[in-house]
Each structure stands twice: as C-alpha cells, then as structure tokens.
C-alpha cells in the first residue's frame, strides 16, 4: 500500500512537471517574441522603442539561453513562484491565492449540488415502479448535459433573480449569491453523474446477490441502500475525479456570467491580455488540482470495493 502510494505520488509529480514544461514551451518559446506578444496583448500601442523592449526582455530574462530560462523558471516554480503579472505587476502566487477561495467555494458548492442532485435523480429513477416516470428521469440527464452553461446561467438570472427576486444575480456577497452560479455549474456535472449512476445502480440491482438479500427477507430500502448502493458507487466515484477538472474549467464561464471574482475571471482576463506568467501559473494549478483529485479518488476506490486491494499479479497469463 505504501509503495502504491509513493508510486502514485511520483506519478502526480510527473504530471505537474509535464504540465509546467508543456506550458513553458507553448507560452514562452512558440510565440516568437514573448515581450512583443505581451505588450501587444496588453492593448498598448506598439510604439515601444528598441531600448524599452530590450529592458523588458532583460527584466523577464528572455535574453538568456532557453535552457537557463527553463531551469530558472522551474526552480522558482518549485517554490511556488511563477513570476509577476505583466499587466498588474502583482506576484502570480498572490494573485491566484486571492482568487482561489471564491472559486473553491463555487466549485465545492457545485460539486456537492451535483452529487446530491445526480445521486437523488439516479436513485429515484431506479426506485420508481412507474415506467413512465422512470423513462422521464432517464431522459433528464441528456437535457442537463446539452444545455450550455452560459445559457442556463442567463435563464436562471432572468427567471429566478429578476422575475422572482429570490437570489442575487451578481457578486459574491454571502451564501445567497452562491446559489445561482453553483446551480449553473452543477447542472452538467450532476447530469453526467446521474447518467452513470443510474446505469451502475440498475446493473447492481440485477445481480444475483440482490436476490440473495431479498430471499433473506430484506426490505426494498435495505436492498437498495445496504447492498446495491455501495456496489454501484465505483463508476460515479471514478467520474468524480474527472468532474473536478470539468468544474474548474466551467468556472470561467460561470464566473463571467454572474460577475463573480475568482480563478475563472483571472483566467479569462489573463488569456485575453496574454499575461503569460499568470496563464502558466493557472495551468500548473489546474493540473495540480486535477491530479490530486484523481489520486484521492483512486485511494478511495478500495474503500468502496475491497476487491481492488487484491494483487493482480497471478491471473495474468503470458501470451506468446
């Protein structure tokens, strides 16, 4: 188990390094002249004279050989230092740390909503004896996935906020302001979860051990929650790791639609203004969150299904 954990941690470190290196190549090497890109991207006139450009280039270290630049940035990155924003001059680390709590709140709330909503939908679909209702509940996830996030966001603002006046439509003040954006972000994630969970739950309910449980005299609720649920949980759990990345990406649109501050907004503006150090910091952060979420999921899987702890060495046969 310890060896497995170490191997997985090493794997995570590799993913982070790869994300850093890929972003370095894409952002710093490929544009040709990063300084010109940054200056132009900032919307400023290109009327910088040669001396100014040279000064900037020196300030960012672009006049040094590529391997030296790379090593320097990598070493700094290892200490959490991704340089400073071209636009504001603020440290990238501080910029991200400022925005992180808001986005963490948003995605955390969305994940919770997606889990509860998707789980409830799947359970209801498997539980109901009405064929019509089951078919309706089965179709709901498809609807949730196909509605674009910006559209659902605008619809929620229009009806829930403007017409009914229930929750605020903009800003980040208090839990009430969190409701609509979290709902918007949770909808596609919850739909995917519901779809997968319905399938695995139905499959589990068709297994012979469910017949055994019923033959013992177990009630329906006991069969569902005591036997089928845990057996069906593996697939949606595996999905959860992927959804964390999805939610992080979705926060860009959601935060813009609801005018909330957060990593999504930072990302949107950094990309728009080609603020390369900030973009790189965000890429590495995204990779870290994604890799750690999936590591957590993989470590949680054997708790759900003890069969996964079995060494898989023996049954593998050597084919010529």
């Amino acid at each position: 188990m310890t060896r497995y954990l170490l191997r997985r941690l090493a794997h995570t470190a590799f993913v982070l390094w790869a994300a850093f290196t890929a972003s370095f190549v894409l952002l710093f090497l490929l544009p040709g002249d990063p300084v010109a890109t940054m200056v132009l991207g900032g919307g400023g006139s290109a009327a910088l004279d040669g001396a100014q450009v040279a000064a900037l280039r020196h300030a960012y270290g672009f006049d040094r050989p590529v391997p030296a630049q790379y090593l320097d940035r990598l070493l700094h990155a290892l200490h959490g230092d991704f340089g400073s924003s071209v636009q504001s001059g603020e440290r990238v680390g501080a910029l991200i740390a400022d925005a992180l709590p808001q986005t963490a709140q948003l995605t955390g709330a969305a994940l919770l909503l997606a889990l509860l909503g998707g789980g409830a939908l799947a359970l209801a679909g498997a539980w109901t004896r009405s064929r019509r209702l089951a078919r309706l509940l089965d179709a709901a996830p498809a609807l949730g996935v196909s509605a674009p996030t910006f559209w659902t966001g605008l619809m929620l603002i229009q009806f829930v906020s403007f017409r009914l006046g229930l929750f605020p439509s903009v800003g980040a003040a208090g839990p009430a302001a969190l409701v609509l954006p979290a709902l918007t972000l949770a909808l596609p994630a919850g739909a995917v979860l519901a779809r997968v969970f319905t399938g695995s739950l139905r499959a589990a309910l068709g297994e012979p051990y469910v017949t055994t449980a019923r033959a013992k005299g177990a009630t329906r609720a006991r069969v569902y929650f005591g036997h089928a649920l845990r057996n069906a949980a593996g697939a949606p759990l595996a999905l959860l790791g992927l959804l964390v990345g999805e939610l992080l990406a979705g926060s860009v649109v959601t935060e813009t639609v609801f005018s909330r501050g957060g990593l999504g907004r930072v990302t949107a503006s950094a990309v728009a203004t080609q603020d390369i150090p900030v973009v790189q910091g965000l890429v590495v952060l995204g990779a870290a969150v994604f890799a750690l979420a999936n590591l957590a999921v993989d470590l949680a899987q054997p708790l759900v299904d003890p069969r996964l702890l079995v060494r898989t060495a023996a049954p593998r046969s050597v084919t010529a």
Partner: protein, 546 residues
C-alpha cells in the same frame, strides 16, 4: 408410500409467465403441481428451459423482472404465499423458507464481509441483537462446514473459494431456522468433488434439523442419490413425479427416460471410438512448468504425457489443479516457463511468427462456455469460416470465397447443424448448438489435435451426451486427437482412451481409462471417483470399496 403426510409446501396448478418486450407473454411454467412434506427431500429435475428455476423462484416470490404468477397457488403450511402482500411474504422469507441460489460466486455481496451477510438474516428477523449476531453468524458458518469460521467471517467473498461461498450461502439459508429450503442448482458451477461434499453437507444439515429440502437440478444422478421423491419438468410442465426408485425403474414419460439415459453416473455409456494402434506420439510433453509471476507455486509443475494420433487423452482435476493452464500451454496460447513440448517430432515451446501460425493450423481449441467464446455479432458462417480466411484456404478472389463457403457448409453438416444455421447469430442458438458451432470452427482447418477445455461442463446432461457423441463420431471420421480437460470422471469414462489425474499442478496418475477408473492407484483418484453421482442402490457397493 400410498399415504402422504400433510404437505408443508403444496404447489397447485401454478402458471407463471414472463412479459416480453413487443410480444405476447411467454408461459414459463404451466399448471405445475408438487408437494413437499415436512422434513422431506424432493428433487425437481429438468433441463435448462424446463421452467424448474422459474418454479423455484416463484415459490419464494422472487421472480425476476417481468415474471408474473398467472394462476394457481403456492400453499405453505396452508397459507397461499403467492397471494400474500409483500410485507408479510418478506417476514417469511429467510425465516420460514429460504433459498440457496445457483451461482455461489455472484450470489454474495462482494463488498460486505461474509459474517455480516449471515448476521443480516438474524437481524432482519429479530433473531439476535447487534451484539449477539456476529457470534451467532460464526456459529452458523461453523455449522455449514466452513473451516476456521471466526477468520472466514471477517473475509470478503472474493477471498473464498466457490465451495466456501456456497457454504456461506447455506449458512445464510439455515440462519433463520427455516422449515423449507429451496436449493436452485446449488452446486452446478462447482467441481464434481466440491459438488458432492457441499450437497452431502446440505443433506445432512437439513436432515438433522428436520428441514424440508426442494433440490432443483439438471442432474438426475445426483437427484436420485439424495431425494426420496423426484419431480421431472420439461417444457414448463411437470411431466412425471413419484418415489425415486419407481421413477428410475419404470420411467413413464419419454423425457424421464431420456434424462436417465443421459445421466453419466447412472448409465455409463462409452462414446469413444476404439483406441487407434499406438504409433509415434503426436504430442509429447515433458516436465512442463508454468509459473505465474508473483504466484507462490507454479500452476503447472513438471507435467509430462503423450497423445497419440486419433487418440483422446483426458486431463482431470479440480479447479486450481492447473489443468486449464496445461491446456493453454499445449495450444501454445501461453509459453511454458520450463520443460519440453514436441508436436509431430518438433520442439514447439519457443516457436514464434510463421512456424507458430503453422502450428495453430494443426492445433485448435474448443472452450468451456459456448456462450462467451463466440462473437455475438458474427453469423455462424462467419465464425466457422474465420480460421479458413485467416489461413487463406481456397486461395484468393471469388473462387476462394466459394471454396471456403463450401467447406463451412460441409463442416456445419458434419456437426449436424441445419443448413439455415449459417446465417443466424449465436444468440439465436441453444447452448448445445453453440458448442457445435465452436467444434465446427475448431475442426474446419482439419487439425491434428483439438484441445477441448471443459467443452461440456456448461451444458445440460442430455446435451452433454449429444456433444460427447458428436466429438467421438468426428474423431472416428477425421482421425483427430483430443486433449480433453474436465473435472468430471464420468465424462472421462465416456470419451477418453487414456487419462491423467492432475493435482496442484502435478500428475498423480496416468494410464488407460479402464485401468485408472476401475483400479485407481492414487488415493486422490479414488476420492474423485467417489464424487461421481450414481444411483442410490450401489451405495452399499461403494461403501464396500472404501
């Protein structure tokens, strides 16, 4: 026995049907009636599709989705269970009547410790409180013959063998102290040896506690050994029922006679053609070893045997004995980690590329499950023709295609499949027909050796006989040799010329079938022989030999 004691269970004219999507309901059980007296053992015998499993599940009110009781009664102690509302029926399930399901490996919840699964029955019916239940569960496991029950109770089903899982399921069934246990083919997926032990224990347990047992099985031999009365089902109806001896001696219905003729233990029937005159062996294995990486002991440990042309050599053993691994080594689907394998005078353990492909043409495989070994999306003609296409038999172009189609048609005829089967898909065929397709596919290249890995153990007894007969016929016609893997000595007697007995990766005994089966030298062979289900009468003779 003219006067029956008052019945504990009395099924009266029960009809059960299944709803089918886009069609009229299909009747699975029609007008079935049977009685089980308190403490009595009754066997419900029939082939697959006879409706015996549906009837068993209908008794406990656990029909699969779409199943419905159309008419009739299930009287248990005078109450019609089929008319009982669900909560009341639930209170009786597991308490008054219990079910031992078919497949032990899938019938236990894989993510729950087995002790807890036994304790659940006690908790559900208020037979023990939370403190007592775990200890009672261990006692029940002990009672059901689980060795070291305290440790086993804390394990998960995947850490237990099939036989142990079935014992856990028996403990679950016994937990509520039921008056009737319905056992639905409780051992059909287990080895012959384990089958016998588990059935013996179940019989002993129910006898001691005075529990009535309704044993559902396709094997007339093992039914006859244990049940006082037999109920024979075919095509959804009960065709015959009565005391066991009477049914065995004077079967009235043709289906009963067919079952009787097919039961290997009851009517030892030889299918194998006469053994060809031994010449230079076709295949020689010497000191074969196969070790899986990380496994504590090699799966195959120094196995050696010879197979002559046109001869059937059977390898028999329990699961885990290494017999399937040996089959894979001989078919060169796996590479031995030690030893020699000569085929037609040539060392083949290290072959690769073209020579290995050439070997594949001459050594073919028939696998255990005809349900899993045929591609469900391909037509039968395509499945049988695939080896021909792979080796470009008949040459290129339209002429080649015609030649191959002719070979496929001829092969289908040889395995006695109707010509129109060619365009059908495996799902439209019965288990026996599918295995015929698999045999046709193996023989279409006219190989010298076919490795048959448990080719009949997934089939009903009557179909088993037909397939063995077919294999023997094809051997007489084509002169092909078989390496026949099985756990069932009764089958060995029917099909093989020579036999090797495998245990823990080693051959403990090899020889002529007649010699090994009538005068076994090794105690393990004798144990295997005792596990072959036979008629009740020679039980005395059996005792005399042990």
């Amino acid at each position: 026995m003219t006067e029956h004691p008052p019945a504990l269970l009395s099924v009266r004219a029960l009809t059960v049907s299944y709803r089918v999507r886009g069609g009229p309901p299909v009747t699975a059980v029609r007008d079935a009636s049977l009685d089980v007296a308190p403490g009595e053992v009754v066997a419900l015998v029939g082939g697959s599709g006879s409706g015996k499993s549906t009837l068993a599940h209908a008794l406990v009110g656990l029909l699969p989705a779409g199943g419905r009781r159309e008419s009739g009664q299930v009287l248990f102690d005078g109450t019609d269970l089929a008319a009982l509302p669900e909560p009341q029926l639930r209170a009786r399930r597991g308490r008054d009547l219990a079910l031992v399901p078919q497949d032990p490996l899938t019938s236990l919840n894989p993510v729950q410790r087995v002790g807890r699964q036994v304790a659940e029955v006690l908790l559900l019916h208020g037979l023990a409180d939370r403190e007592q239940a775990p200890a009672r569960a261990v006692e029940l496991l002990d009672l059901a013959g689980v060795p070291d029950p305290g440790r086993r109770a804390r394990q998960y089903p995947h850490e237990l063998s099939g036989g142990l899982c079935q014992r856990v399921l028996i403990a679950i069934a016994m937990a509520g102290g039921p008056r009737l246990i319905v056992a639905d083919e409780p051992t059909s997926s287990l080895d012959a040896l384990v089958q016998r032990r588990v059935l013996d224990e179940l019989g002993e347990l129910t006898r001691r506690s005075g529990t009535a047992l309704l044993l559902v099985t396709h094997d007339l031999g093992s039914a006859a050994e244990r049940a006082g009365r037999l109920v024979v089902m075919s095509g959804g109806t009960v065709v015959e029922s009565g005391p066991t001896e009477q049914l065995l001696e004077r079967p009235a219905h043709p289906y009963t006679r067919e079952l009787l003729a097919a039961a290997p233990g009851l009517t030892p029937r030889r299918y194998a053609p006469p053994r060809p005159v031994p010449t230079v062996p076709l295949l020689t294995a010497r000191g074969l070893v196969h070790a899986f990486p990380g496994a504590p002991a090699p799966a195959v440990d120094g196995v050696g045997f010879e197979i002559g042309r046109g001869e059937t050599f059977a390898l028999v053993g329990e699961s885990g004995s290494g017999k399937s691994t040996t089959a894979r080594l001989v078919a060169r689907l796996a590479r031995p980690t030690g030893g020699e394998l000569h085929f037609d005078g040539r060392e083949v353990t290290t072959l690769r590329g073209t020579p290995l492909r050439e070997l594949r043409r001459r050594v073919q495989l028939v696998q255990q499950s005809p349900y899993a070994s045929l591609d469900p999306r391909h037509s039968v003609a395509r499945i049988v023709g695939e080896p021909l296409r792979a080796f470009r038999t008949g040459g290129p172009g339209a002429a080649g295609r015609r030649a191959r189609a002719a070979l496929v048609a001829e092969m289908l005829e040889r395995v006695a499949l109707p010509a129109d089967t060619a365009h059908r898909r495996p799902a439209e065929l019965s288990g026996g027909q599918r295995q015929r397709v698999a045999i046709a596919r193996a023989l279409v290249l006219r190989p010298d050796l076919v490795v048959c890995d448990e080719p009949v153990s997934a089939l009903d007894v009557t179909v088993q006989g037909q397939i063995l007969h077919l294999l023997a016929e094809l051997q007489a016609e084509l002169g092909v040799a078989y390496l026949f893997i099985t756990h069932d000595l009764a089958v060995v007697r029917q099909i093989a010329h020579r036999v090797g007995v495998l245990r823990s990766g080693r051959l403990v005994e090899t020889g002529d079938v007649d010699t090994v089966l009538t005068a076994p030298a090794h105690p393990y062979t004798r144990e295997l022989l005792a596990a072959v289900p036979g008629p009740p009468k020679p039980a005395a003779a059996q005792q005399a030999t042990t």
